[in-house]
């Protein structure tokens, strides 16, 4: 086997100082060092350089950790998470407003022309909601009938199962891709 040249040994010395030289090469380097004064001197210099840089490190201030922990945002990243209660609360408020408008209309009619206009608007909204609800019910009924038709045959049930599983897998893969893209952007910083 061909022996490495002198420059290769010098490169190995650098790796060795960093603990990055594989064991077999390390043994070979030790053999070379035994007979090469120049490389021994090089190793001494490299170790001295490492020592010099280590000795001249600046000390970290004693209050540094405390300052970091004190300056962390009180709620951290949770602040940026979507609030899980926001949507239900909004729906509740909307329903409450509609209920107040519908069931409070009888009291408002007696209050004057302005209140009557409000009651008329509320009635219109109520009619719209009733129509929407009727349409929704009809749609669900139609969907229910179609679903009952599908599950009545084992073949069509199997097709439906495959379709649902495929859609789920597609959704999961899209989510993963999006997550890794976000992580990559964070890792990459704004270079």
């Amino acid at each position: 086997m061909k022996r490495p040249d002198h420059n290769t040994y010098r490169e190995w010395l650098n790796l060795d100082v960093d603990g990055q030289l594989p064991r077999p090469q390390r043994a070979e380097l030790e053999q070379h060092l035994a007979g090469c004064a120049e490389c021994r001197a090089e190793r001494e210099d490299l170790l001295a350089l490492e020592n010099l840089l280590q000795k001249n490190r600046v000390p970290v201030r004693t209050d540094f950790k405390g300052a970091v922990l004190a300056s962390l945002p009180t709620t951290g990243w949770e602040n940026r998470h979507p609030k899980t209660w926001a949507f239900p609360a909004a729906v509740f408020l909307l329903l409450a407003g509609i209920a107040a408008a519908l069931f409070g209309s009888a009291h408002l009619e007696a209050a004057g022309p302005g209140a009557s206009a409000l009651v008329a608007m509320a009635d219109m909204l109520g009619s719209t909601l009733q129509a929407g609800a009727g349409l929704l019910a009809a749609t669900w009924k139609g969907l229910g009938l179609a679903f009952a038709e599908v599950i009545s045959s084992p073949m069509s049930l199997g097709v439906l199962a495959v379709l649902v599983i495929s859609l789920n897998l597609l959704f999961i893969s899209l989510l993963r891709r999006r997550r890794s893209a976000t992580a990559g952007a964070v890792r990459g910083g704004r270079r």
């Binding site: 490299l46 001295a48 600046v58 922990l69």
Partner: protein, 194 residues
């Protein structure tokens, strides 16, 4: 996934913080503060700026901790954020390239306080000379070598992480570190025997 029985990995600590144990972030600070401050100090050449920016970096990392991808090393991520922040600051502030010695001459005193292994007037003078020489030698390195030398010697990142951080082949990292060290050795030859 702990290393041995007693020492949690960085990834364990991050998971604990994300799970609501905020105090564990203090463990990460303990683990990295020395390397982070020294790495930034060598880039910014000012102890106060290094501490301030190190604090900013840690807060920034905490704020986006939920976006940390555990398939990568936490240290790689941390020092990438630190390097970007340092480069931004150097550009933004147009850091004065005034040597520390000039600060002394202006009567403002040194902006760092290194431990002094050598006591007495001669020892102090030698310490100052050595500290200045190290900073000057690092500053004199071309950027492509300097950044790798600092990531290795101040941030103490292993070669693989440096390669990942700089998106360079491992062989290039080894080669540049080798050359960078040769340049540093030449410039600091007078102090290697100390």
């Amino acid at each position: 996934m702990t290393r041995g029985a007693e020492q949690p990995t960085d990834e364990d600590l991050v998971a604990a913080v994300l799970g609501g144990d905020r105090e564990r972030f203090g463990d990460l600070v303990d683990r990295y503060q020395g390397r982070l401050v020294n790495y930034l100090f060598r880039l910014l050449r000012n102890v106060d700026d290094a501490h301030d920016l190190a604090q900013e970096v840690l807060v920034k990392v905490y704020q986006v901790l939920d976006r940390y991808d555990p398939q990568y090393k936490f240290s790689t991520w941390l020092f990438r954020v630190a390097q970007n922040a340092a480069i931004d600051q150097i550009r933004r502030r147009r850091l004065k390239l005034v040597s520390l010695r000039q600060d002394d001459d202006e009567g403002e005193g040194r902006d760092w306080d290194l431990p002094s292994p050598e006591r007495g007037p001669y020892g102090e003078m030698r310490n100052r000379e050595r500290a200045d020489a190290i900073q000057e030698a690092i500053d004199a390195l071309p950027w492509e070598y300097r950044e790798l030398i600092l990531l290795r010697h101040q941030a103490e990142l292993p070669y693989e992480e440096i390669a990942q951080l700089k998106q360079m082949p491992l062989g290039t990292v080894k080669n540049k570190l080798f050359r960078g060290r040769q340049m540093l050795k030449e410039k600091l030859q007078d102090f290697l025997a100390d």
